[in-house]
Symmetry: C2
């Protein structure tokens, strides 16, 4: 399976990975157990601190692990992993170790106990920053503490879920940098 | 410019449009003025009621219009509108009527005062449902009251922003319906 050479990446820049809306794999750990879930309902919230909001439904094994450990890793898979993404989303972490079942490699994270997934293009180590909307909507806000991102390719082919078993792959790049003159010297451009 | 024949669309199904992560155009109106902003930080939150969370920064003219009117329309543009998407994001609604400047057609909505944008593939009429995180993060939760979606194409080519002036277009479709047997008869599949 493809792996990537990764570099440390500024956490304020992780919008480059999440803003396009890819399906992600969320890994977590608690008391010697670990799990992975497939997740598509997320948004960037802030550059600095680097904040991401996610819906993690309370019927997932991951919900309890993340609530208790207060940590997780958001891993960005590329389109070649689509069968693992689907399989992980369609089985239950109570019944199976998903790293083993799907032949994925756990890698020790730098700042959290949850494992990174080696085969993913990017790994974002996260800690819970705000739980005010967890009770009402299962909406967690995480701070990205550390980001590991593949050095190549520059524009990975990501997966974007539309429901009903249908994914869209990311396609061509449209470069409009010339039109952003007003913003190009601001830090969060 | 391309327009679309649209149909009413079940609001519980709008994840098909927003979950893949497209850049959207948010239209709003207040006291005889109207505005459009480009927005990329959003997530689906719930099927029923149909809830969407969005970051609308408080330095946008739209922020005040949406807070006061408590309404907006989330419009999904296709990739052919990229220059309008960029232009709308890079000018100030205090200085210009963006419908006029960008030759976009306002259409009267059914349930809100904000106008739909005719040239967009989909239009979601929204009302504020929760403002608890507006003060801290500029994070609004909207309920989608009514959805208008083009009857074709089935998989529109959408735009996905990665920052720094770079967009990704949506590409090929990956059909994994066969692997979702467990969910295919659930309402929110």
């Amino acid at each position: 399976m493809k792996t990537y050479t990764k570099k440390d990446f500024p956490v304020s820049g992780i919008r480059q990975l999440l803003e396009p809306g890819p399906v992600v794999l969320v890994s977590s750990a608690w008391k010697g157990k670990r799990n992975i879930m497939t997740m598509g309902w997320h948004t960037v919230i802030e550059f600095t601190p680097s904040l991401v909001g996610c819906i993690i439904a309370d019927d997932n094994v991951s919900f309890a692990m993340i609530r208790k450990s207060r940590e997780c890793v958001i891993n960005v898979p590329t389109a070649d992993l689509v069968d693992k993404v689907v399989g992980i989303g369609n089985c239950d972490g109570d019944m199976v170790d998903k790293f083993e079942r799907f032949h994925l490699t756990p890698v020790t994270a730098a700042k959290v106990a949850a494992p990174l997934i080696r085969e993913c293009f990017a790994n974002l180590e996260c800690r819970i920053a705000d739980t005010r909307l967890v009770k009402t909507y299962n909406f967690f806000i995480f701070e990205v503490l550390k980001a590991h991102v593949a050095t190549a390719p520059k524009y990975p082919q990501t997966l974007h879920y539309r429901g009903k078993g249908i994914f869209i792959k990311s396609g061509g790049v449209v470069d409009k940098r010339q039109k952003f003159t007003k913003w190009k010297n601001t830090p969060n451009f």
